[in-house]
């Protein structure tokens, strides 16, 4: 008889625990189902975080110039051209530039440039991106003069915010380098 009672108690204990922990958030929140089930502010995290980053990435190319040429010249052996571009990150999140290439017309010739290595830019900050390309045939020695905001042609840029990639091209990035 005693064993039978113990066995019943052993079986009932988990049920009581489950019922208690099932009901306790409702009791604590005055039977407000929304407050008990939903996170404190479900849109604080996923909503604002995701939307602001996607929105920011989408808005960024439309906001105006986010990069400017800082330096340009020829490599030591004179076979390659380099351009250093300062790229700003207006987003509240770090940005990775995974791809950046384009062509700049200068001195009657065209420079075809591509990023040497991916660059990370902290939130609200800027970073120098080095673009390099072969020296065009027509470029006279010491004749590389570029405006601060040159017109890029065939522009390709891939931005990444926490792994979410935004491939941009000339059409999508219009306005940035006008």
């Amino acid at each position: 008889m005693r064993d039978r009672t113990v066995k019943i108690i052993i079986r009932v204990i988990p049920v009581l625990i489950l019922v208690f922990f099932f009901l306790s958030p409702f009791i604590r929140n005055g039977w407000d189902i929304g407050a008990a089930v939903l996170p404190v502010n479900p849109f604080l995290g996923i909503g604002t975080g995701l939307l602001s980053s996607i929105g920011g990435m989408v808005e960024m190319p439309r906001q105006g110039p986010v990069f400017s040429v800082q330096d340009s010249g020829l490599s030591l052996d004179g076979s390659r051209v380099y351009v250093e571009v300062m790229v700003g990150n207006p987003l509240p999140l770090p940005i990775d530039i995974r791809e950046f290439s384009g062509s700049i017309p200068t001195d009657g010739t065209v420079l075809n440039l591509a990023m040497v290595q991916p660059v990370s830019i902290p939130s609200g900050s800027s970073a120098l991106v080095r673009l390099e390309g072969p020296r065009p045939q027509g470029l006279r020695p010491g004749g590389l003069t570029l405006p601060s905001n040159p017109k890029f042609g065939d522009l390709k840029m891939t931005l990444s915010v926490l792994g979410m990639e935004m491939p941009l091209d000339e059409n999508t990035i219009k306005g940035v380098v006008s």
């Binding site: 052993i10 479900p42 975080g49 979410m164």
Partner: protein, 229 residues
Amino acid sequence: MTAPDGESLNLYWLNFPGIIAGIALMVLPFLDVWWRFTVGDGAVVIGTSPFHVLVESFGIGITSPFLASLNLGLKIIFIYYGLLLLAGSVLRIRDDRRSMADFLVRVSARKLPWLVLWFLVSVAISDVLINHFFSLMGVQANVPYFTGDSVISLGTGLIPLNIPLTQRFTGIFIIAVLVSILSLAASLYQDRVTLVKTGEGLRVRLIPEQPPVVPSPQVETSETAGTGR
């Protein structure tokens, strides 16, 4: 208690798989999540197990009071079942408590396998809902079931956006499956088999349905009277 081969080997009546599974069952709720769903490189991370639900968006943790409470309840319940399994496996050594020992193992040993099964069904349902959610949004997405990578492409006007999605079972889930198998083994071991030390070493033996009837040495029958047996 004596082993079926007649040797007095009390320790061999312990339910060893049950002891290990019982301890593992008590530790399991304190380990990490079993399944992780990631958007981007950690832009949004959803990690779940019956004992934890972790939602992080851009480093901000999001907690549902109801789920947190339910997780805590399950944690306590499974620690309790671990204790029962351990107690039943040890108590098996005592003849007078054998019925209670069997009951404790019976009550506790099959709970984790059911929980693992329930968890798998939940993950499958989640994947169905995720795919349904994207199709409602008009987004081309084929999120694989249970584990795998996929990329969804959101077109926001002119600007395309590729969002990688990753889902994986963690090593802790594998541990949970192994503990489940061990729990089931403990249940079988408790009922039917035992470890016995024989001349050839340790052997697994089936426990006979009926205990062997051994005539009491004090009672002498007419045949044995006077024979000295």
